[in-house]
């Protein structure tokens, strides 16, 4: 298990991260919100922790987990080359679309 992408491929882990995005949570909190068996939560948290997505603080018997942004930043950075396909000026996208569907200007429609 290496890349940040493989980590967030798991739906439960994404759910955990989304919950932690709003505020830090204990394992019990997560268990309650996600309706998942506790060992499952702990296991996912371990994966997330070892990959640097989260870190934990000790509060008595509880372990409170919080987000660490670095790996997600990495994902965000990977998306960069693709943003031109939707963001900002639609021109680039349209040119791209046009190139693949030549839209013959002023000509008898051949097929559909």
């Amino acid at each position: 298990m290496e890349s940040a992408f493989a980590i967030i491929a798991e739906p439960s882990r994404r759910a955990i991260l989304t919950l932690l995005a709003s505020s830090e949570q204990s394992v019990g909190d997560l268990e309650e919100h996600l309706q998942l068996p506790q060992p499952s939560i702990s296991k996912h948290l371990r994966v997330l922790r070892e990959a640097g997505f989260v870190e934990s603080r000790v509060d008595a018997q509880r372990r409170v987990y919080r987000i660490r942004p670095e790996p997600l930043k990495e994902v965000d950075a990977w998306l960069e080359p693709f943003r031109r396909f939707w963001s900002a000026h639609v021109d680039a996208l349209e040119r791209h679309l046009d190139r693949m569907n030549p839209t013959p200007p002023r000509r008898k429609r051949k097929k559909r």
Copy 2:
């Protein structure tokens, strides 16, 4: 194979997408750039196509593939709640960091 996240968990598929981000490419082009066996490329392209990441155009015997942005937009959108952890004003992040590491102001260091 459902979520966009699962699709881009695969390194070869990310490589394909990155190549296609710069310009459309035939299967042979991809094969050459990525140094992967052709059946592997075709199989990954199939997955990407069925998940809506790419679409193909026919050019004689060649199939030329190009990016379709929608699924990546979805990933981009999912990242939104996390951007506050790094982007824009660092204040939010710092407050977050402070909360977990109280930084007792002016006190004898206990541990570490």
